[in-house]
Symmetry: D2
Subunit: 406 residues, 4 copies
């Protein structure tokens, strides 16, 4: 299979060499992958094939490890998956064309084009890691590409882009409503050539991953500045003294291993001044820019989640007989599948529009659509996934039906 | 105002002369009127201006007549409105480019382009009549354009296109579930040079209009043919002996005057054979083709309905104080306005996609999207309109808030 | 039939003579009419029979008049209906036992017992008028029973209890959010032996009824008193100079004739001081006590509305075939009927509990349940009625299916 | 505390000695625990106190163990909790009065009375196990009380009632839709003095518990009998050769340890004929009777779940500030708490009515209400719990907020 995916890499590269250009402000909306430019279309179908043939077959093993004592180890097959995806050119797809004009970092895809890839990645439990497109690394890499110094890039961006290390983002705090970033209470205090960091973070996703080596930390350098100029971002290596993982958090009883979500304490953590990003007081601005694309990725993965749920639901309904009739022939189930299709397709259109506006008129104008998909996609996913669970009876609560029973 | 709307009619014509061409199969989706080709954009903004300046100010008068004894008369201003719209080139906009290559009948708009106009028309209670775009005439004219003989066109299509007469469509029957057209029981029996028609129809919209002169009647010419070849369509002048309006039907107590919805009896109604459309047994096929565009028009008008409701809701919320605070500053109302925006924008995207597929890949492929918008748009409208009503308190049930109180 | 309903009136009276006693504070909840004490059970089944046999057969006629020019006249049969109900002892049932210890005014029913009657009345479009249980008379009579002087009672309560006149309640104002009664702006100014009234009311229900002779008017006697002591209530005969019906309001295009809802202007309307209820500043307190029972009545009538809708829906589903199968055998419709049953039964239980608490622990403690049913019952009715409409196809929008087609 | 709960055990016993009598068919509905007879009221308040003071403080420890490698062990404190509850008379409360006239097994509570206790048990994650009221033991004990021989009772019922062993119920099969019990495919074949059992079960809850010693197994003794006479139930000790736990199943990634839900294989499992319950072909009838009370228990526990969620949600809202205002002062959250109250109270009323009908008119008549609560309670719980999660932000996904942070 891999041969097939990688079959015409040189040709793809060639396509790419003239493919990157900003879509015009009034460009119309691509609503289906076969309307993408050939270069992106090829990547999309390669990603889809890779997911179906390489990743989905590993889901049961991935889950079994997650439910076992080995959960904090990386899936043994992950390194090979990443190597394959990389060699097939399916790597760092998330880096948007507009911060990567020479395709130094990624493949020069637009936000819209990558949205279609993200949907595919959301169809599989292994997610976007095989493609080095997994959060929070994606957001962290974007930040480093846009704001990192040459030294910062060399030390952190390069290994991240190569998939050699993982990273986390220390923003949410246990004591305050951190959805409003101005509430943040952690301090970053200048002391000679260093900054000294104190604070308590939680929901620091990926911090438990064995390869996690960097935390981009958000705190306040000036509690007296105006509200949006108090925050700064700083690079903190994971092994810095004073930094301590308190505990893994659970999501409905699951650890989301091996990345997990930790509560992390920072007590007099000292890092050199050159670790600061951009400058003091720039934290809020960096954070704002960081969240938009991530929301689109999350929502498209949720759409992929819905699509997979519909696939599984339909398969079950075709194969299950109750009260003398196939479930797929029963009106209530036709209605539920129909509603799932209606809701998923609507959510996709709006998410694509958000990505498209990001590409054509910029993040600021796209803010309205991004706010809308944050409401739409999770609510739709909750409904569609719930219907798929119900279609499987008690079995829907287990993970048996992800792939054909072995 | 009219001067402004009609200001550059010759220029529009000129644009138009080279504007009609089929969008390619893989065209991407126009999601906003300012992405339309300049010709269509101009018509759209003229339609919007016409609605806002000419039609909305008449709403209260229109409603007052509807609730009075004069309801079965045409609104006195309607003829003038139609004349203005016609002279401004805002006429027969619904005729799609693909059945009107030489722009003989309409303006050569695509289904997608007209969808944007239909949304605007849906913002006003007077609807699409001023633009001669009102159902069921629109569907009837489409049928005549596509299937009418020269004689049929001359007798019926011409006055319809000129807005001189109105027409109705006799399909739904009281005795059977007519959403399945194969259930229809009315008979069209050959007798010498004539056909003799018997049956009972209801929900025959527009049949009560003083200018209604034609009924396109659907019945069975052969009860023994295969299921989809039993039906035929035939032209029946409204004054044909044996045809009798039994009564107007009410919609939640309203007559929808002056067009109304009647129960109509056909007893030995005799029309000449040349009144048959296409041929015996072609009724089902004609009906199928007739419904798709109409559904898109209906759904886009519902979107317009939602938009108007949101406008009125927001105006009310800004101007009403309760419990010591403007309603617009209260969280519950922010949430309701937000949801209305989310639902309306999603419904619009899907309806535009249906119209776009109609243009690019044809009605057959678009069937899925058309089926989806039939579910989506009415449900969204019900929710959005209900919220707007609630925002107005008891007053929301009245028609006081359609326009500024005089 | 009437003979049967009135068959044992003396016996009922006898039951009644020892039946009125306050339910203990910890009484458990009667959830079904056959658990009522025999006296109330008998009245309930008589009311039900009266509705089914005397009232429902008149619905089509009632509606036809409502949609005609005769709408502002009383239904010709109404007087006879009222006479029959009165002679059968089905009269003024709403007067609660606790303000009517000697059964001077009504039948000594509890709020809970009357709730079951109100449900039955809600099953029919003619509503509660035949039983002299129709708002706003009910609330007005309650107010007069509790707070009226002997003279006020003689002049207004007696003819109201006899069903000879109707009355309205002037509270809601066009200019302010009147759901908060402290917002009211109308003035009641002392001037010698009179009060002089100025203000503009709307949604003054029943004010258009040909027999309406009294308005209980709420306004402010002291704009400087503390918030809840500014309001007073005063009796205003409908023919008082300066009082003017401005126009009937419409509810979704209907007039709710013959009672209607009017906008009413009061300009220097002068009434003698003895028309004031209780005393200056007591208006808010009276209003608070007035609304609780009315909300229970409204909600139970809505439950009755739901029950009737379910009856009609089930009848339709049993008799309609679509796509080769009876609708009642199709899963989607089974689900919709099931949900309607579930929602209606839950709403009834909560409304009964509200009435029961009113009886056992008083209006103040019952306030929470009364607030809940205000949310529940209208929302449930909206869903159940909508499903019944859908089950009837287009016909569901008309009023054809209220009773067997004639 | 325990002293207080057990303070007047003799007095309770005395109450009880004359308290057991069947409620009359037309009894009205107790809707609040303070309307219960004093005996039941006392038990209810003791259960509530026990939950609050003994069980809730152990929740965090219980969860920590569930998420650890020790999950398959019984919580160390459980034995002591059970001993305390037993000595306080809070033991085997589920046994309904009508199968326990001499209070040989339980406390002679009605289904309605126990419903209130079950609600309290549902407020705590430890559930009903401390009170020996935990499924599937409860259903199994009921079956043994009603249908067990003296020998069967001695061997299995006695240790179950004493809380010394646990049990499971082998009904659901992996291959067929087991919600229809007639689909069951496992076989129970007579062979000399034994029955030989073959089949594959899953979702066999409690089968992994270290104390689980008995499986009540459902299979078919006669595949050719009429549909409802094919099934039989038989007692299978857990250590019987041929019976094999295949694996624990997960519920959304959790094991529900230590009871768990297993897939269990039965290959030529041989048990003596006297292990059969009642007789061949009685399995379906026994199963039908077994499910009704269990559904009420489940639903009332879900109501308790909702109540706990509302408590936690309100506490959070009072203590959290966002965007400059306490969450509890923000309209959207007032609405969400209000809806949660409305939905929970309605669900409780209907569940109580189901229990009440079970007591007064029997399981057959109560079937409609039992069917309704199966729809209502889980749907309400899903909504209420979701709102409580949202109120806690990301923290809502964790288990941190179950009890005050330590």
């Amino acid at each position: 299979m891999l041969r097939k995916i990688g079959r015409d890499l040189p040709k793809i590269q060639r396509f790419a060499s003239f493919a990157v250009e900003k879509p015009p402000r009034d460009a119309s909306l691509v609503t289906s992958p076969d309307q993408l430019r050939p270069f992106a279309q090829r990547i999309w179908s390669d990603v889809r094939e890779f997911i179906n043939e390489e990743c989905i077959p590993l889901e049961q093993k991935f889950l079994a490890q997650e439910f076992s004592e080995d959960r904090w180890k990386v899936l043994p097959e992950m390194d090979e998956l990443k190597a394959k995806a990389k060699s097939a050119g399916l790597w760092n797809l998330f880096v948007p064309y507009n911060i990567d004009e020479n395709m130094e970092y990624g493949r020069g895809l637009t936000n819209l084009e990558y949205a279609f890839m993200a949907e595919e990645m959301g169809r599989c439990l292994l997610g976007s890691e095989p493609f080095n497109c997994s959060p929070p690394d994606t957001g962290n890499m974007e930040v480093l590409i846009k704001y990192g110094t040459e030294d910062q890039k060399k030390q952190w961006l390069t290994p991240l882009l190569e998939g050699k290390i993982r990273s986390c983002f220390g923003m949410t705090e246990i004591a305050v409503a951190s959805s409003d970033a101005t509430n943040i209470e952690s301090s970053i205090v200048s002391d000679g050539d260093d900054y000294v960091i104190n604070g308590r973070k939680w929901w620091t996703s990926m911090s438990l991953h064995p390869n996690c080596e960097l935390c981009i930390f958000m705190g306040k350098t000036d509690f007296n500045a105006s509200r949006h100029l108090q925050q700064s971002m700083i690079l903190v290596p994971m092994n810095t003294p004073g930094m301590k993982i308190i505990r893994p958090l659970t999501c409905y009883g699951n650890f989301d291993a091996p990345g997990g979500h930790a509560e992390v304490d920072f007590s007099d953590v000292r890092v050199p001044k050159e670790n600061l990003l951009v400058g003091e007081g720039m934290g809020f601005a960096i954070a704002q820019g960081r969240l938009g694309p991530g929301r689109i990725h999350h929502c498209m993965r949720l759409i992929g989640n819905c699509e997979r749920s519909i696939e599984l639901m339909k398969e079950r309904l075709r194969n299950r007989v109750a009260f003398g009739k196939k479930l797929s022939d029963q009106g209530v189930w036709k209605e539920r599948v129909g509603l799932s299709r209606v809701e998923t397709d609507q959510a996709r259109l709006m998410t694509l529009l958000a990505a498209h506006k990001m590409d054509t008129v910029g993040a600021k104008v796209a803010a309205k659509e991004i706010a809308m998909i944050k409401i739409i996609a999770p609510n739709v996913a909750q409904k569609v996934v719930d219907r798929a669970i119900q279609a499987h009876g008690a079995g829907g609560m287990s993970s048996d039906f992800l792939s054909p029973h072995s």
